[in-house]
Symmetry: none
Subunit: 198 residues, 4 copies
DNA sequence: GATGAATGAGAGTTCATTCAT
DNA sequence: TATGAATGAACTCTCATTCAT
């Protein structure tokens, strides 16, 4: 009733929304979109099934929100890497280490599905791909910077950024949480390949 | 008694099986396992739904057969690369080009799903992972050979093989057939990174 | 948090369960287990198909619940006969009359199927047979009592109970509701056979 | 081609038909009509599925043939009892013993299903019931004869016949082949009940 | 006649979504 | 707003029947 309550309501709503998205991310990454039941998401979020629909209009809607949030978070993360002090190697190293510590693998899985699956509407695919490409810029900037300092091999920076990110994604997909078979030290080795002097 | 030709029956059976698997590979790669209806597979194979079950006991069974066949085919392909004449670079180049021309991207998608999804029985996951690791050997052999000739950067050969394959997979997943956005020339650039003298 | 009335929910749930079982009993008795569609049960219960599965996990599960409930109800009924005042003949007469008025014929059909069909899991068969045997006790008690008073022919009481119940079942199966061909007076004649003085 | 062959063909055909019916009887009695697959019948008969349809037009057709044959066989059996030498007790005893040694239980099961199930066309039900009633005559004749000799309790002979047969059927359904729990001696005890002097 | 692969309608079961409380 | 019972379309799998060989 009072403005205070309204504000609080808004905040509660945002929290619930975020909480639902967190659960959805985890579950969908683990089982895939169409194998995930809305009930699974609800259970993990500690919310009733019906209540989910007060925050999202459909399962697809949740997925779409997940992609938006994931790509935005990734953008922030990539810019944080670019904002790091030190050499290009230091920055990429920071990026690499933190990538593995974050839930990037989960988002990576979702994005890949979004880009490749016929079940996803074209509109969404295009948005995701465009945003993905745009999100390469901070990495490309780091690489360009490194090339100017003579640290990094020559080549088109966007191309190298794509190669590097693909490599990270590819390795990520072989190194699922709970499957520690492949040492994460390998990511560092991969990074070496980009360096001029190795 | 039996007016049927047993040999011919056997042969027809094998053909049908293979035809169903081909269709299943295409459709599942495009839509994901659980979003693919058995009816989709049947339709693409030009077979009735019921008849599918004369050849496979369930959708899961089809998926499993697909993984087996895919990993076997990949093994043959990797060994063919190892069997090529020429330098390590030539061999990897052959591998790279042919990877992109084959249906490797489809199988890559399936294998990734098999390794990562909670919906896949542990037994199958382990088998897939073990076979995957084993399948790195021909690539590792090419790399080792190249290292001895001074062509390829130093480092543990299995590790470099994993990095290289991950890179290919990562790129593959950004370059779906029908989505020619990313030039396949990029794969060649990626290959350069492994070379000592670049 | 929960705007629902838990007690009322519990009660509604129990009612629905019972309502579904009632319908299932009728329909399965009329058509047999495997010829009965879950949709038939749902329709007769005035419930949607999907909702049935909120109460029972499968058609088999419904059948099993039906057997449990039916044998328990029969036990109560048999003990009520034993609890009647009067001579053994009076008690058996009460039993006979009420048997025909109740839905015993439906349950009889189900139990017979459960005992004899290969499609029923051994575990369930054994449980049903054991309970059936145990349920003969009240009748055997009436007979023993009648023998001591000189009303009833001599012989092992459990054996005579089995004979009597089999007779009732056999007659029941010739006298389906809606098929009034065989007068129910015949049951009384059958009862006479057990009496010493006839 | 030659008349000889034609005759032989006829004979082979009759044999096959009978062989299929035998298998059908066994399997349907064990699993129920609708739970029995035509493939089950074919397998047990050692015949291909398709070939069944050269002899019968449908599963229902097989069932109907089974009922006809079963009731005819039963009639022959009942008349054979009537044709036995000796007292009424001897004849009923012969009937009882041979009933248990024959496949009467299987036919009993089928007939019961035919009479009671909604899935059976009315026309067939009526035919079965009429024939059943008619088939009581030989037993009723034995009973009447016994009554005249003072061996058997008084009462309407058809009614007593129905009671006796129901008793046999009821006991039969508690004493499935392979379930020897209930001693078959009990049938003799049941017979005693009909005797005047016991 | 004999075979068994092929068909497709139909059954059991699941699950996204709605709605009364 | 929160709940979970209810709905029914859709999916997987089965099986009576047909048909090419």
């Amino acid at each position: 009733m009072s403005p205070r309550n309204k504000e609080k309501d808004q905040q509660l709503r945002a929290e619930r929304t975020s909480q639902i998205l967190d659960s959805a991310l985890t579950v969908i990454a683990r089982r895939g979109l169409s194998a995930t039941k809305v009930a699974d998401i609800a259970e993990m979020a500690g919310v009733s099934v019906g209540n989910i629909y007060k925050y999202f209009s459909s399962k697809e809607d949740i997925f779409e929100a997940l992609l938006h949030r994931g790509q935005q978070e990734y953008r922030d993360f990539a810019e944080e890497a670019w904002g790091q002090a030190g050499s290009a190697k230091d920055r990429l190293s920071w990026y690499t280490v933190n990538w593995l510590n974050k839930r990037e693998w989960a988002i990576t899985t979702l994005l890949q599905h979004a880009r490749t699956s016929e079940t996803i509407p074209e509109r969404l695919k295009q948005a995701v791909s465009a945003k993905f490409k745009d999100n390469l810029r901070p990495i490309a900037a780091i690489i360009e910077d490194g090339q100017q300092r003579g640290e990094i091999v020559s080549g088109a920076s966007m191309e190298l950024a794509l190669i590097y990110v693909s490599m990270m994604e590819g390795l990520t997909l072989h190194d699922i949480p709970g499957t520690p078979e492949l040492s994460s030290g390998i990511a560092e080795s991969a990074l070496q390949l980009l360096l001029r002097d190795r």
